[in-house]
């Protein structure tokens, strides 16, 4: 059997979606497992990331300009365009990417994938597609939630730490943030989260036998997903900048 490549896995997953559709039960399970169960860690991390962004920006603005009145606007723009979605995606890459790679890798070395094939079940349709779709949908939902949480945290930190009013934050937010920032953030969330299951499943499928092989597959999937997210972030930011 020829060695599986990343592109052939993506191709077979898409083909299986077009021919057999999606397994809704699997999809719902994966959505709950990948998105819902990651909610707490995402809420905690993005909240603190937003708070640190506001405080750091204020510190530097005061140092250079002796005035931090522009901090809420700038920070809100940074949060919506980059911070919320990138932090969320990197957290997911670490959490679910490792999980998917380990799960699929274990199935590979215990020959469960071969068993699926014997039962006439397409492993890409059964293993990759539900995870991919769950991550695409979950990515959008989590990007929205991460943005909402970040904005609220930023507003609270601005009010209580920077000693500026809530309405001042709102005014600054309106001045700097546009509705298309949210759309682009959602697209980024969807793309970043879509990459995670593909990379993780691929490393699971090519997992070498033994605990050592599973460990390597897990590590590789997390590292590759993180690099892919950062590179894709650059490319998407470059493309989206053409629309402003």
């Amino acid at each position: 059997m020829a060695r599986l490549t990343f592109l052939s896995m993506c191709y077979q997953t898409i083909t299986s979606f077009l021919t057999s559709g999606v397994r809704m039960t699997e999809f719902m399970q994966q959505l709950e497992k990948l998105a819902y169960r990651s909610l707490n860690i995402i809420i905690i991390c993005v909240s603190f990331a937003a708070a640190v962004t506001i405080l750091e920006a204020s510190f530097h603005m005061k140092l250079v300009l002796h005035d931090d009145s522009l901090v809420p606007g700038f920070a809100a723009m940074l949060i919506v365009r980059e911070l919320a979605v990138v932090v969320m995606s990197l957290l997911l890459a670490a959490k679910i990417g490792a999980g998917i790679a380990a799960e699929v890798g274990q199935m590979k070395i215990s020959e469960q994938i071969d068993a699926l094939k014997l039962l006439g079940i397409n492993p890409f349709n059964y293993l990759v597609l539900p995870r991919l779709l769950a991550c695409l949908v979950g990515g959008i939902l989590l990007a929205l939630i991460a943005n909402g949480i970040c904005i609220l945290t930023a507003a609270l930190v601005t009010t209580y730490s920077l000693d500026q009013s809530f309405s001042f934050f709102q005014t600054s937010f309106r001045r700097f943030v546009l509705i298309q920032d949210l759309w682009f953030s959602l697209i980024k969330g969807m793309v970043f989260c879509g990459v995670i299951p593909l990379i993780s499943c691929y490393f699971g499928f090519i997992c070498e036998p033994g605990a050592h092989g599973v460990g390597r597959a897990t590590t590789k999937s997390v590292v590759s997903s993180s690099i892919a997210i950062i590179v894709l972030d650059f490319l998407l930011t470059l493309i989206f900048s053409l629309f402003y």
């Binding site: 959505l31 819902y36 939630i145 909402g148 709102q170 309106r174 949210l182």
Partner: protein, 259 residues
Amino acid sequence: MNSQLKIAILFILAGLSVVVFVSFLGKFEILGQYKRMIIAYNFVGGLEEGSHVRLMGVKVGKVEKVEFKPGYKTSSGEEVNLHIHIKVAQSAWPVIREDSQYFINMAGIIGEKYLEISPGSQQAKSVQPGMVVRGVDPPRVDQLISQGYALAGKILSVVETNEGSVTDTIGSISDLVKSLNKVLETIDKVTTKREYSDLVSKFSQLSGEMTVLLRDANKGNIRDTLTTMRNLLKKLDKIEEKEIRDFLQEEGIKARVAL
């Protein structure tokens, strides 16, 4: 808790986040909360869609649209090519009158543009929603700079064409100032040297005595006159020869003094 419920929670949270985002962006608008009008300009200086509208410095609305209207003419016949569509909060609307003025101003350190409405007089009528009014075009900084350059060029050409006379005038003024300086220096020297000052005061005293002598001589009282002359000569003795010579030389008078 089953997985459907968990997914439902996920969607609800995402929906709430959208509400938070949209409310922060100020996109919620209850119907009828705003009234709209159009302001005509020929130059808006960077005012754009979403810019704030302020009335007496208070934020009351937003610019909704910037529209080109080629060939549009106001009631006075003036051609105005830009229409700014604005919405103003209903509560602020009655303050806007027909004689209100519409300025484009700049705020903040990043130079954010906004539209400022000055309240009209109470005698004037209120504006009607949808009405087109003429705004006050903001000054064009680029034009001012180019006019400044033109003015500087003209001044330069005037100076160049009258170079001789201008130079002569400046030379004359310089000479005048120099002469004045010399005079002032001389006066300063004379008034500060103690011996000259004494000399002047002694001559002054002498002159007074001489006046008395001449008056007495005229009267024929010769004895008194001689007494006066003796006194006068005694006083002259007190004036040193050197002081007199120095003074006369300083004043450019060559004289032989022998006392």
